[in-house]
């Protein structure tokens, strides 16, 4: 089955948000929305699940903290204990206060970088990745809503989308899966 889609272009964020709500109320399936800037409330209106990146960041931070503790304990206490300025390093808890700055830095380092890498991987962003926005104007001032045609009447759907305020509508025929 060819998964045909309709691309409806809007020229305003308020109009788009309203249209998204109307389209969903009519139980049409919105497969994607491309916007030039974050439109507040769009994810809720589209029914997107909240992102869990903040949780991953917290977990990565814990990993960073654990690595820092393990690293400094191994290097300063276990592997090569030294007497630095009369402050011998033979037990972790007595040396711990001096380790706090690096524990903190490592926590932030892991939490920040691994979260960003996760974001890039999940959203498929990396150098030499080809952009996939169907219309070049969607990074400037146009808003594109991609609606699955499924087995709806195309003319009725198009008419309906015009009434929601779309300024341009095009039918996109996707080739058979190969």
């Amino acid at each position: 089955m060819a998964a045909n889609k309709i691309h409806a272009i809007y020229t305003d964020d308020d109009l788009l948000l309203q249209a998204v709500k109307q389209v969903r109320a009519e139980e049409y399936q919105i497969s994607e929305v491309y916007t030039p800037f974050p439109v507040h409330g769009l994810d809720e209106a589209m029914g997107l699940a909240p992102t869990r990146l903040a949780i991953t960041s917290f977990l990565y931070g814990l990993v960073g903290l654990a690595v820092a503790v393990w690293m400094m304990n191994y290097m300063m206490i276990v592997d090569w204990p030294q007497n630095i300025g009369g402050k011998p390093s033979f037990s972790f808890h007595q040396n711990m206060p001096a380790f706090i700055p690096i524990m903190f830095e490592m926590t932030v380092f892991f939490a920040g970088h691994l979260m960003v890498i996760t974001f890039y991987m999940r959203s498929r962003l990396w150098p030499f990745k080809q952009a996939e926005n169907p219309d070049l104007r969607t990074t400037d001032d146009h808003f594109l809503m991609e609606v699955d045609v499924e087995n709806h009447d195309i003319d009725k759907l198009a008419e309906f989308l015009y009434n929601t305020g779309a300024s341009e509508i095009s039918l996109v025929k996707t080739e058979e899966a190969h």
Partner: protein, 599 residues
């Protein structure tokens, strides 16, 4: 009440009646256009300074740090002064992007990009000094905890200097990804607006294939927020740790418990001063006065005022404590009667005047909003903050515990040259940035346009808060332009949006002739007897087909096109069906004017 409501008492953050498209055009303009002469002049000067500094660094490394003015008493001087100065400057960017994001300050969006760029470039300069100071910079990797040939002799995790290594590299790398993540949508905008293939290719790589899906934006906003939450304690930790370099020592004047908060405040103080210096020039050169307004400058001056106040209180506290201990030795620390009247009196008073006295003028609103005065103050603060670090390091060291070893510091040309070189390097990086990067985070700025833009504010003032904020666009069709190849577009729907055009009672040819007459009345009629026709294809955006169509209308010369305004472009689009490209965007009139003058 509209969701875009903002208290009318708040001044607009974006001046002029801007649409989303205007924002893209005006922020993309410096990148897509050509560099002007003044850019090249400043760039050349910076490059010469940088090369001179590079020469000094090579001389230092090949000969040894004996070429600096250091002596037995003063073992740290300009190098560490410059290091702390640059790190301090590198604090404003993250403060603007992180702390102000957490506080939901909308004005940050016009300045955060450049402030973050400045941060990264300043931290790069700062990082140079400890590496040069090592004497053998090729062994710089010894500061990392890696197994080595000495039976795995590890680095000392008790040392503040090692904390510095971790703090500054974490800060630099986190600032970099924060900056770059924010840049992705803006690079994507440039990518999609660029017409030259090479430019398009470059921005396509830089933008990591950003497409602006709703889910991506949701993640983007979450990532920005979490990074801000991480960067806020990080930025405070960095200068705290830098201050530990001094505070954990036993040198009087350095061994001070108020150093961490005082250093952080001082860093923000100097960082904002540098942001002011750069942005006041940049807004003028790149014509961004509508985005970086006097209001932004006022807000930044208020932060300078607060942090400057904290620094002043710290100075007074230090002075008081030095006196209150009653120890004669404390009379020689950098904030004391001894310092004010001793051989370094000039450095002491430079500090007091530049950092405590001059910024007080910013209490007056008129001065806070005076761009020239703000610029002068920002330069003075930069100088003052350099003296603060110089005073802390050199004055405190110059009179040590052994009277016989009291001495002064004399910088050599290498000290001065290296410092000038880093300033040159900093400006080289910043100038390249200003030419190639979107200097304002236009995507997030568009998000506040309806609440804080002047045009929309006026709309609400005139028509009430419930007025529709929907922007009316009437643009020519660009045709099926897409980043996906092999994709078929079927424009099978013939719904018309413009009932006038299809009104059968008016013959469309008659309307068309009327429009042509109107257009020619605006731009002038071509007279073949006295004029010769020009090669219109030299105008970027005009191809052979379009040239033919222009000839059919009666447009033959650059002179005619150079007279075109937005009204004429619209007429032209209505006359020529399926008009390709955008004359506004390509600035036909401007191009034609240049070509006309070249003749």
């Amino acid at each position: 009440m509209s969701s875009h409501y903002e208290a009318p008492i708040r001044e607009p953050l974006v001046l002029g009646e801007k649409s989303y498209h205007d924002v893209s055009v005006e922020i993309g303009a410096p990148i897509l256009g050509r560099a002007n002469k003044s850019w090249w002049i400043v760039f050349t000067i910076s490059l010469v300074a940088f090369l001179w500094g590079l020469g000094c660094i090579i001389y230092t490394v090949s000969t040894g740090i004996g070429v600096w003015g250091l002596n037995k008493t003063i073992g740290w001087a300009w190098d560490i002064t410059n290091f702390v100065w640059w790190v301090g400057i590198g604090h404003a960017g993250t403060l603007i992007s992180a702390v102000l994001l957490l506080f939901r300050q909308k004005w940050r969006m016009a300045v955060n990009r450049s402030a973050e760029a400045m941060t990264i470039f300043a931290v790069v300069q700062a990082g140079l000094f400890p590496i040069i100071h090592m004497g053998r910079p090729w062994l710089a990797y010894w500061v990392l905890p890696i197994p080595n040939q000495f039976g795995s002799l590890w680095v000392n995790f008790n040392s503040p200097l090692l904390w510095d290594v971790f703090a500054i590299s974490t800060y630099l790398s986190i600032s970099l990804v924060f900056w770059w993540t924010g840049l992705l949508p803006d690079f994507a905008m440039i990518r999609d607006r660029a017409t030259k293939p090479f430019q398009k290719k470059i921005y396509s790589i830089l933008s990591f294939g950003w497409t602006g899906r709703a889910k991506d934006w949701q993640r983007f906003e979450e990532v920005e927020l979490v990074l801000a939450g991480l960067a806020t304690p990080l930025v405070l930790s960095v200068h705290t740790i830098v201050s530990f370099d001094f505070a954990t020592s036993v040198v009087p004047g350095w061994h001070s418990t108020i150093y961490p908060p005082y250093f952080v405040a001082g860093a923000v103080f100097s960082g904002f001063a540098m942001v002011q210096t750069l942005l006041i020039i940049m807004r003028k050169v790149l014509h961004l006065e509508d985005y970086i307004t006097v209001l932004h400058i006022d807000y930044m001056n208020q932060i300078i005022l607060v942090t400057g106040g904290i620094v002043s209180v710290a100075y007074i506290t230090e002075y008081f404590m030095g006196w209150y201990t009653g120890m004669p030795y404390e009379n020689y620390v950098y904030l004391s009667f001894g310092a004010a009247t001793g051989p370094y009196w000039w450095a002491f008073w430079a500090l007091i005047i530049c950092n405590m006295v001059v910024p007080l003028t910013l209490w007056i609103r008129k001065y806070r909003r005076n761009i020239i005065w703000t610029f002068v103050v920002s330069i003075i603060i930069n100088i003052g903050m350099w003296f603060e670090r110089f005073d802390i390091i050199v004055i405190d060291l110059s009179k040590d515990r052994l009277t016989s070893s009291w001495t002064l510091f004399q910088p050599t040309f290498v000290d001065i040259g290296t410092f000038m070189g880093t300033i040159g390097f900093f400006f080289v990086l910043f100038l390249l940035y200003a030419r190639t990067f979107p200097v304002i985070s236009q995507a997030t700025l568009k998000g506040i346009l309806k609440s804080s833009g002047e045009g929309y504010k006026r709309l609400r003032a005139e028509h009430g808060d419930d007025v529709s904020h929907v922007q009316q666009l009437d643009q020519g069709d660009f045709g099926p332009a897409a980043n996906i190849s092999h994709k078929r577009f079927d424009n099978s729907f013939a719904y018309s949006r413009n009932p006038v055009a299809t009104n059968p009672s008016v013959p469309s040819e008659q309307v068309r002739q009327g429009k042509i007459a109107q257009l020619l009345a605006n731009i002038g009629v071509f007279d073949a007897k006295i004029e010769t026709q020009d090669d219109l294809q030299r105008i970027n955006g005009v191809g052979p087909v379009l040239e033919q169509k222009l000839h059919q209308i009666g447009i033959f010369t650059y002179t005619q096109i150079s007279r075109m305004t937005d009204v004429d472009y619209e007429l032209l689009k209505e006359i020529i069906s399926e008009f390709p490209g955008s004359p506004q965007q390509d600035d036909w009139a401007g191009q034609a004017l240049i070509l006309k003058n070249e003749k």
